[in-house]
Symmetry: C2
Subunit: 404 residues, 2 copies
């Protein structure tokens, strides 16, 4: 069996944790399996690099930021190879050049295009544990790129697909996927299985266990994921196409506090308006989340959407600069909002789920600012300060604390 194991930065933050990971890899190796390990940068080392860069040039070229940040994973993988050597197991570390890990050209937010597997396979054939830098790639200019948030998860899934691995295990600091954030909702329960689609909705909405791009990729290539803790041997949560357990009405409640709402008021009610707005934002590499379009006054329309808070200024500037082209009357920005969502594959065939969620919010006095739904998800935008209250209320209303 070929197993891909991914460990995040906190799992390799110091010597003891590095050896903890190394020992888990050795156990797998001693079972006779081939082991590929994907690592993030150690603990807060990326933050240190960001501070350094910030002190030199607060508006540094992204190409050079990636050149700087990719050193972080290279440190992790080489130390892990040394730890495995100390444990008497042959190992080799590889960076994005050595693999090679081809991506699109966009610095700081590249997408994986193709992974050369020859070097990895050769090293596996000589019975080495192969340790690969997560988060990074190289583009057609032979420059380093980074994959953006959750990039190491994506690296792991892409490697599992390219190598046709038998399993892809994502190790985090939680035991698996819960019905809600256990730090907020005390009686949250761990799920033994979840579908890609449910996970995708939860990931997009900020459950912070797996990044959506990695889940999308896993779904696309049918890579079965296991999310589990690097600190204990609990079973974790399996993410796959169809769960064998009966579809639950609701799998979980998720919140994302990192949102800012932007509204364009008084756009012309003519074809192509939404295209122009979101094409402009896409050109600035700004990801837009919830979108809501409504009829405005006097034959105009309004478009409201949310973006990650750290992209809000760039989005506002881009839109203001193009006010004459986009022809809107007003633009407004509301910070400190949060998305709260319920997700469940069983929702599609059960009416009244959204209503039950709204009732729970009404009962605890939380005002809803926006609503967005999909087949298996209902999301509301509320004030950030109400998030914890709202999550507990919804969790209770659906009886998630008592489900297994």
């Amino acid at each position: 069996m070929l197993i891909v194991k991914k460990f995040g930065g906190s799992s390799v933050a110091d010597k003891d944790r590095i050896f903890n990971v190394a020992n888990r890899c050795v156990e797998e190796y001693r079972r006779g399996n081939d082991v590929v390990v994907v690592l993030s940068a150690m603990g807060d080392s990326t933050d240190h690099l960001l501070e350094l860069a910030q002190s030199v040039n607060p508006d540094a070229p992204k190409r050079e930021m990636d050149m700087l940040l990719t050193t972080g994973e290279q440190v992790s993988v080489s130390l892990m190879a040394m730890a495995l050597d100390a444990l008497g197991v042959p190992a080799i570390s590889l960076n994005a050049f050595q693999v090679a890990m081809h991506t699109t050209s966009t610095y700081s937010n590249a997408r994986l295009k193709r992974i050369d597997t020859e070097r990895i396979q050769n090293e596996l054939e000589s019975r080495k544990i192969v340790i690969i830098t997560g988060f990074q790639g190289i583009n057609k200019f032979d420059d380093y790129t980074t994959l953006g948030r959750g990039g190491s998860d994506t690296t792991a899934v892409a490697l599992a697909a390219a190598l046709q691995a038998d399993a892809c295990e994502i190790y985090t600091d939680v035991d698996g996927v819960y019905t809600a954030d256990p730090r907020v909702v005390k009686d949250a329960k761990k799920l033994s299985e979840i579908t890609y689609d449910e996970m995708l909705e939860l990931a997009t909405l900020g459950a912070k266990v797996l990044h959506n791009r990695s889940v999308e990729l896993a779904k696309k290539y049918g890579v079965q994921l296991v999310v589990r803790s690097s600190l204990n041997k609990e079973e974790g949560t399996i993410v796959k196409e169809d769960t064998t357990v009966e579809k639950m009405l609701i799998s979980g409640v998720a919140a994302d506090k990192n949102a800012t709402r932007i509204s364009l008021i008084g756009l012309k009610d003519e074809p192509g308006v939404a295209f122009k707005v979101f094409n402009l934002l896409a050109k600035h590499h700004i990801n837009v989340d919830l979108i809501l379009q409504s009829i405005g006054r006097d034959g105009t329309k309004d478009i409201t959407f949310t973006v990650e808070s750290n992209m809000a200024k760039e989005a506002m500037d881009a839109l203001k600069n193009q006010q004459s082209m986009l022809k809107f009357n007003e633009i407004s920005c509301k910070e400190n909002v949060a998305k709260v969502s319920i997700v469940g594959a069983g929702m599609a065939t059960n009416p009244g789920v959204a209503a039950k969620m709204f009732e729970a919010l009404y009962n605890c006095g939380v005002n809803i600012k926006m609503i967005s739904t999909s087949e298996i998800r209902v999301t509301v935008l509320i004030n950030e300060k109400d998030v914890d209250l709202a999550m507990q209320a919804i969790h209770d209303a659906f009886g998630l604390g008592t489900t297994k």
Copy 2:
């Protein structure tokens, strides 16, 4: 004009020093010149990485050590590119993969074989300052290698040769090459010019301004070097084939305290003995310095040599393990010895230079343990504690404090 500038780790140790270097590069660039910058890792960052490695595996594989250490220069070059960007000058950083910088396979002590100049030339043509990681290369396995001590100097000289640069400037924390270490000999004078051969002898002997491999390479390809300070605008010392000033009897006095003497007593007096001893040490990548062979008792011979102190244990172990093959009676090791040398191209045609040096040492009561000479150098091995006294005495005896 194309200028290669090399700055050591202390020159890029923090934000202010990075901008100091960046400003000097911008001055050169604004004169209309093409600028290639070679950097070492920031300040003590290499030491931090070594500590990390040491804590994980005190006997880490060298391949992984190089994988770890090469991150240091990558951090420097990306930050320098950011600093230049902040100063409004286009710049790009390149690592050993991106250049590419081909070396032999030996990890931790590789030698440069070939530098691809295409990428660098393309970047220079688009009027960018090109910043290149010193000290590192890649081998035929597509793995990182490092060039050993003084590696960044070697990178700079090799780049100057490959790019047919008009000048190669090595910036250090001293103003240039002195007749003796100014910290030891108060009236030491800076030399305006020195030949490759003199510099080579001085470098080998521990003058610590330029590493010998970089000078060898400069001599081989006729790259004229300038050694100058990164902290002031003094003229520095030019290192070239022939100096225009009259050949001085003695250019300088150098000391190297980092030596251990090893003696093999009672070797058989037959052909191949020296070959076997030094071939064994070469296989362990142990550089041997002074070698002295003398007739021992009863038809045997003794071989005495010096090694860098940090290699002494490995050398002793290697020799002891092969005692039966090498057939020596005894082996002994003397630590805390030092080499003191005088160097001068004029020495070859002037008799009595060595005698004058020995007289100076006799007059101040310093005992000589070994003597070794070349065409332009006389070296003595003395007790480490006598070094400063010996240097000043020799410097005075040759009147170096009054020469220009």
